[in-house]
Subunit: 310 residues, 2 copies
């Protein structure tokens, strides 16, 4: 086996690993040498996830030592130290020194970052941001969050908290968000909140509708669903337009389930962002290239080209 | 005369120049060797401003060739080429190659940038941002705009338009701004708009009140003035809180006339920003150190430490 990079993705419900030969980094469409995804058990914990991931990585590597290990984690991470702060989905992740632990297991340098930053890097290196120097990647899913690439480098903020577009306020008198504020982008544009708003407007909060179903109903002409979907899209657009005025990046790249809501949704997002941005400010809003594999490609981008000395 | 830097400030109504010996750059409180400010005539133009500034600079230099010339311009500038795009105050500034023109006159390397970026650099190098790696400088005056320092470098955006916090929307159903949008920060928080809103609420749009007088009336307990001032302060605070969530900088530095509005205003700005920022996100909001001389100190910062070869 040639020199390779190991990519690991600790998602909330899935564990994924893949191996990329470094020779593939120069390819137009790099291809994994090995790739596997497991679903975490519902009663899992950090210890189980770590052990399973180490076993999975070693199996894919088949005895070879990787040049480097890139890791995406679905929760807050201190990038400098490689320590996971916590997981909102899996217990036991409080202050786990994941970088140190994996470096010892794989005898290789390791970098760990949160999934939004990693996905931004992945799209920048291999996907919809390739060739662009400044971009903001936003995932619109159960939550709304993002990651920055500025001057060809990840911008994490002084506490590693940059990118929280989901909790920018766009309607100060809008509905209450779980974060305690009113009219956050996430409160209006995320899948679960759109589903909630649809059910509330329909008068049945127990209807068990999902965000995806709201988009499907809207596409079939349901007026309540369209109202909710477009309000969410416009709120996101205001957030993106505000961000364009503040930072003037070249591209916005949108990923996550809600971005599959169809042309109606995309039009409303783009129109609203363009209305809010000053006329001298230009940008494109494009879909992410990667879906489920975004964190793995981003994990590769996190370590590609680094100094591979341990 | 020792080796020195020439700093020039083309304001909308003033022309300022100063000379700093480079030996002063290492001083705790650097002091100008020479400094002068002129008021532009009301019927002035670009040609007159340029000729006057060249004469002023040469007089302050007293025959000496400067190591470099830093220039602040009160309007949009293409930093890479040093070409002024236009002035909103003085005619004749369309596409003036100011950098090239001054480099020929002073036989020295020249850098030109807009006043918000320059002031941000000045505060970062010599003022309230000294020792901080990431900051956003905001001027709250007749307009509201800002400049970024990220990773110890000015972040200008891909078209040089970053920092336009004044045109981020914080009240989508709010009053109409000159830019065509509703509820921009500038529409609510700038001096002239606060004066306008006070006069409108008082039922006399011809009262000739200024933003400064609104602040004075508020300090003396006038309820209408307090309402207008606090609404502006809160709108700015929402803009700052949103910015904190997006970029997570260490400091916000506020300059400009409106920041002299007293403790009531500062409290409302800080409180509103903290309410909008996520609890994990921390920052300080502090007053700028420099007032009228901010662009001159920033002009020095723009060229200090650069390669002084022409």
């Amino acid at each position: 086996m040639a020199d390779c990079i190991l990519a690991l993705d600790f998602g909330g419900t899935k564990l994924s690993a893949a191996v990329l030969p470094v020779s593939e980094l120069a390819a137009g469409q790099p291809a994994w040498l090995a790739h596997e995804r497991l679903f975490s058990p519902k009663d899992g914990n950090a210890q189980f996830d770590i052990e399973t991931m180490i076993a999975l990585g070693k199996r894919l590597l088949a005895g070879k030592r990787p040049l480097a290990v890139g890791v995406s984690f679905g929760g807050p991470v201190d990038y400098q130290s490689g320590i996971v702060r916590l997981s909102h989905h899996v217990p036991g992740w409080e202050n786990v020194p994941l970088q140190k632990l994996l470096a010892a297991e794989f005898s290789a340098p390791v970098r760990v970052d949160n999934d939004a930053n990693v996905a931004a890097l992945g799209e920048w290196r291999f996907g919809a941001g390739s060739g662009f120097d400044s971009l903001f990647y936003v995932t619109v899913s159960t939550g709304v969050g993002g990651g920055w690439v500025l001057n060809g480098r990840c911008w994490r903020g002084h506490e590693g908290m940059a990118g929280e577009i989901g909790h920018t306020v766009v309607e100060p008198d809008g509905p209450l968000c779980l974060c305690g504020k009113q009219g956050c982008v996430e409160r209006l544009a995320s899948g679960p909140y759109m589903a909630h708003d649809f059910m509330a407007l329909s008068g049945d909060l127990d209807a068990g509708i999902t965000g995806k179903e709201v988009a499907e109903l809207a596409a079939r002409g349901d007026e309540v669903a369209q109202t909710v979907l477009l309000r969410g899209a416009r709120a996101l657009g205001v957030g993106l337009g505000n961000t364009a005025n503040l930072i003037n990046p070249q591209r916005f790249i949108l990923g996550g389930g809600v971005t599959k809501s169809g042309e109606l949704w995309w039009q409303a997002v783009r129109q609203s962002a363009e209305q809010v941005a000053l006329p001298e400010i230009h940008f494109e809003i494009v879909p992410a290239v990667f879906a489920d594999d975004a964190p793995l490609w981003g994990a590769v981008a996190l370590v590609a080209g680094m100094n591979y000395e341990l």
